[in-house]
């Protein structure tokens, strides 16, 4: 029996094994039902994060254990945050704002699940943001999102667990 033949048998035989290993594994990562077809017109999407009292608002439109999609409207904000286990993939939709990123988050506290909140961001870089811009923020990188004074600032986040 040649090595090649052995490998071929092994790869054939390993497929069912991989399947049975999956059934024996802990519960599936997706804890909410399978997503249906959804269409939400812009007015409804806008309403998700619309407020007249000048406060920030965010809304998760689809929520899975290892990823979710969120629309966020920011006003002026000075709170630093870092997500130790999540990527932020962001697309700026509307308004004007900025991100300060990197550096060191001093005095932040873990709000649970590696979500670091508050404290002071020292040595971060400033990037102004406009509609159409996009960002990737890797896990653990501290950042502050804020609207430019006199503006609101809306963006779309695709959150992915590492």
């Amino acid at each position: 029996m040649t090595v090649r033949r052995l490998l071929a048998i092994a790869s054939l035989a390993a497929l069912p094994l991989a399947a049975s290993a999956q059934t024996a594994a802990p519960p599936a990562p997706h804890t909410i039902p399978t997503d249906a077809f959804v269409y939400q017109p812009a007015a409804e999407v806008e309403a998700l994060t619309h407020r007249t009292d000048g406060k920030p608002q965010s809304k998760i439109v689809i929520d899975h254990e290892n990823y979710f999609i969120e629309y966020v409207t920011r006003v002026i904000n000075t709170n630093a945050e870092a997500h130790n286990h999540w990527y932020d993939y962001i697309h700026v939709l509307d308004g004007e704002g900025s991100i300060t990123y990197g550096g060191t988050q001093e005095g932040g506290t873990d709000a649970g699940g590696g979500e670091i909140r508050g404290g002071k961001l020292v040595g971060g870089k400033l990037q102004l943001l406009h509609p159409g811009d996009r960002l990737v923020i890797p896990p653990g990188m501290p950042h502050i999102f804020t609207a430019t004074p006199g503006h609101t600032f809306t963006y779309l986040i695709f959150k992915q667990k590492t």
Binding site: A10, A42, Y67
Partner: protein, 155 residues
């Protein structure tokens, strides 16, 4: 023979567990201006009229920007991928569901014709979620250019 298979299995299992479908390095911080994104969408995909720009490619998800015209689009079917779409500019439509005949491919099908689909007009700011296994056709309205951002996730 049985022993040989068992031995081969033992040897093969770790390789199956550890090899991702597509191994990409971890993503770093990135900033791309709106202008750079537009630039990236100037070149059509190979063999297509429309263009797509994949920003971050992972084995179970990716982020893509797409530009579609009123022609050159084909019916798509993804057996294992969910499309989460936000329309950025332009107007168009998504025709979904129905029965497709004459498509090519198996898990990823393209082309053919659709009977009995539902037409949904789409505009900037709209959100669309297309489950895995639902055939769909995305077109710009006549004379328009449709741009959208797409989060693809494997089921």
């Amino acid at each position: 023979m049985r022993f040989l298979i068992a031995a081969a299995l033992l040897a093969a299992t770790p390789a199956f567990a550890q090899t991702p479908l597509r191994a990409t390095p971890p993503d770093s911080f990135k900033y791309l201006s709106a202008q750079e994104l537009d630039q990236a969408l100037m070149t059509p995909e190979r063999g297509r009229v429309y263009s797509g720009h994949v920003i971050n490619d992972h084995e179970n998800y990716w982020v893509e920007f797409m530009k579609r015209f009123d022609h050159g689009n084909v019916i798509e079917y993804h057996a294992h991928w969910i499309d989460y779409i936000t329309v950025l500019s332009g107007e168009g439509s998504v025709t979904y569901g129905g029965t497709v005949t004459g498509a090519t491919g198996t898990d990823e099908q393209r082309g053919g014709t659709m009977a009995g689909g539902t037409v949904q007009v789409i505009k900037p700011g709209d959100y669309i979620q297309i489950p895995a296994g639902v055939p769909h056709l995305i077109n710009a309205a006549p004379g328009q250019t449709l741009k959208f951002v797409l989060f693809k996730h494997r089921t």
